[in-house]
Amino acid sequence: MGRLLEVSDLQVRFNTPEGVVHAVNGISYHLDEGETLAIVGESGCGKSVSVMSILGLIPTPPGEILSGQAHFHEQDLLQLNERELERIRGAAIAMIFQDPMTSLNPVLTIGLQITESLMLHLSMDAEQANQRAAELLELTGFSQAAARLGDYPHQFSGGMRQRAMIAMALGCNPSLLIADEPTTALDVTIQAQIVELALKLRDKLGMAIIWITHDLGVVARIADRVLVMYAGYIMEEASVFDLYKDPRHPYSLMLLSSLPRVDQRRSGKLRPIPGSPPSMLTQPKGCPFAPRCSYAIDRCREANPPLEQIAPGRRVACWVNLEEAS
């Protein structure tokens, strides 16, 4: 598998009236063709910004990209101007978002919104585009797809809107689909529909996916590889099986062990992570997770550990060796 995306040393901050928000603090990650990468973390950990910033999708100002490269097919996305980026967004790189209600235009028909990118990127005429749009809706599970093209978003339920968003995203045969919390606003049975659909389409169309979420259950279902983020840093990178079987960062470990499971009987009390996620307005001297970490040693409070490779495909940012500690 070839390398599709290579992001290095990405640093993004937001200059707000309250102060400087250090959203992403010099992270590096990559994605291979056809691979599904999950970026998991809690709200405000920088998981969305670390992807949206490379597509020029954060408002600048207040956002500011301080450093970084993002190589996608020989090009550094961060060096492209807005027009060049527009040619990639919605075509080779497609996106779906959390709230399909707000990311669809309420006064345009679904058909018009799907055909827009087909006519723009693929120079189709209206008839070709309509035909392709109907095919796409069928691909994403709509019955009588052609008749649906004249519908408005409000006539669709949440799950249908998200499927229409996916149809729109797939229009130009993207090699990368970025899914930013696409199932968070949906009910669990609809979430299952969307996840199954994404997996089916991934296998059928051979695209790579970056799936941004806070739901460790969805990650377990969909991902090949996982980045665990906290306070604007990658804490751990691992294959999905390694991460859940043998988490090496205390944050991953404590997060996984705080979750109850629907398929298992209760075994005593939950083991929560104490404290709250940190404010992104201040940059701690040490590891940002140290104040909540049950494994923290003095060194953790003094210096922020770098993300280091501990095995092929496996990186951890922690001074403590969890294997020895536990």
Partner: protein, 331 residues
């Protein structure tokens, strides 16, 4: 956890709550009704936690609010600690509001941003004139804050100074101020970060043990409900389709909707999750304005037969203490 053997503290029988749909601005005519809660029956025993689960729009929040008398019921009976909620006098309702309280989903919108923590938590004490003077009230607020794991020093701070988890603790302290026996917890953790949810759940458990509370826990997080609740009721489109002891329900779900719902929940373990059999429901939940005839679930049910479209299924005990509303489940 086994359900504590005791008397029902809360009894709900044939409860219905319809919201009228009207047309016209000056002269409003009823043109239909949203059947938000349509004939539900269950008991909640002293000291237990009953989970009420279902997807958005199934009526679980409306059920919780109607039980507390916050919405007038359309039909049915509600009894809390021997008091008939629908027939209660004003004085009795005042007493009920002390003994039966609510914790809300959104810790951001459920606290008045202009009030200090002290005024928020002491409001029930003032409204119900529970303590004689300000000094006693302040002492009680400090005690309550410490009970929910917050420092008594926070008295004069405002909600915006707190994180989501801390705000939810303030909401819990307010709910506890009047020494309630019964608390409706309406999605108390769904607005919180994953790492904070377990803290709040453990707090609710500790409080239940220390104060002997009874909970109705409304949620859509099925894993958390299994962890916390003694018994679980599953709602679909205004009706309860299944009710059983927690492990019994999760290990032996009988209703096809419950089976689909449980199979849809992802498990945070890729090896297990990818082995699980999934029942993907087609379509969407129908509108509660015109719920389907017969069994409400028949439009999406994988095993529906002809009679399911006509006959409303009976509420039957198919295994010991395991109740299901489905024609096709064999006892």
């Amino acid at each position: 956890m086994n359900p504590p053997a005791s008397e029902p503290l809360v009894q709900v029988k044939g409860l219905k709550k319809y919201f009228p749909l009207t047309r016209g601005i000056l002269i409003q005519r009823a043109v239909g009704a949203v059947h938000a809660v349509d004939d539900i029956t269950f008991d909640i025993f002293q000291g237990e936690t009953l989970g009420l689960v279902g997807e958005s729009g199934c009526g679980k929040t409306t059920a919780g609010r109607t039980i507390l008398g916050l919405y007038p019921a359309t039909d049915g009976q509600i009894t809390i600690a021997g008091l008939d909620v629908r027939g209660a006098s004003r004085a009795q309702l005042r007493h009920l509001r002390q003994k039966a309280r609510m914790i809300f989903q959104d810790p951001y919108s459920s606290l008045n941003p202009r009030w200090t923590v002290s005024s928020i938590v002491s409001e029930p004490l003032r409204v119900h004139k529970l303590l004689a003077n300000e000094e006693q009230r302040l002492a009680r607020v400090r005690e309550l804050l410490e009970l929910v794991g917050l420092s008594g020093r926070y008295l004069n701070r405002f909600p915006h100074e707190f994180s989501g988890g801390q705000r939810q603790r303030i909401g819990i302290a307010r709910a506890l101020a009047s020494n309630p026996e019964f608390i409706v917890c309406d999605e108390p953790i769904s607005a919180l970060d994953v790492s904070i949810q377990a803290q709040i759940i453990n707090l609710l458990e500790d409080l239940q043990q220390r104060l002997g509370l009874t909970y109705l826990f409304i949620a859509h997080d099925l894993a958390m409900v299994r962890h916390l609740c003694n018994r679980v009721a599953v709602m679909y489109l205004g009706g309860i389709v299944e009710l059983a002891e927690g492990n019994e329900l999760y290990d032996h779900p009988q209703h096809p909707y419950t089976q689909a719902l449980l199979s849809a929940v992802p498990v945070p373990d890729p090896e297990q999750d990818r082995k699980r059999e999934r029942m993907i429901l087609s379509g969407e939940v129908p509108s509660p304005v015109n719920p389907p005839s017969g069994c409400r679930f028949h439009t999406r049910c994988p095993i529906a037969k002809d009679h399911c479209t006509e006959l409303v299924p009976e509420w039957r005990e198919v295994r010991p203490d395991h109740w299901v509303a489905c024609h096709e489940v064999v006892a």
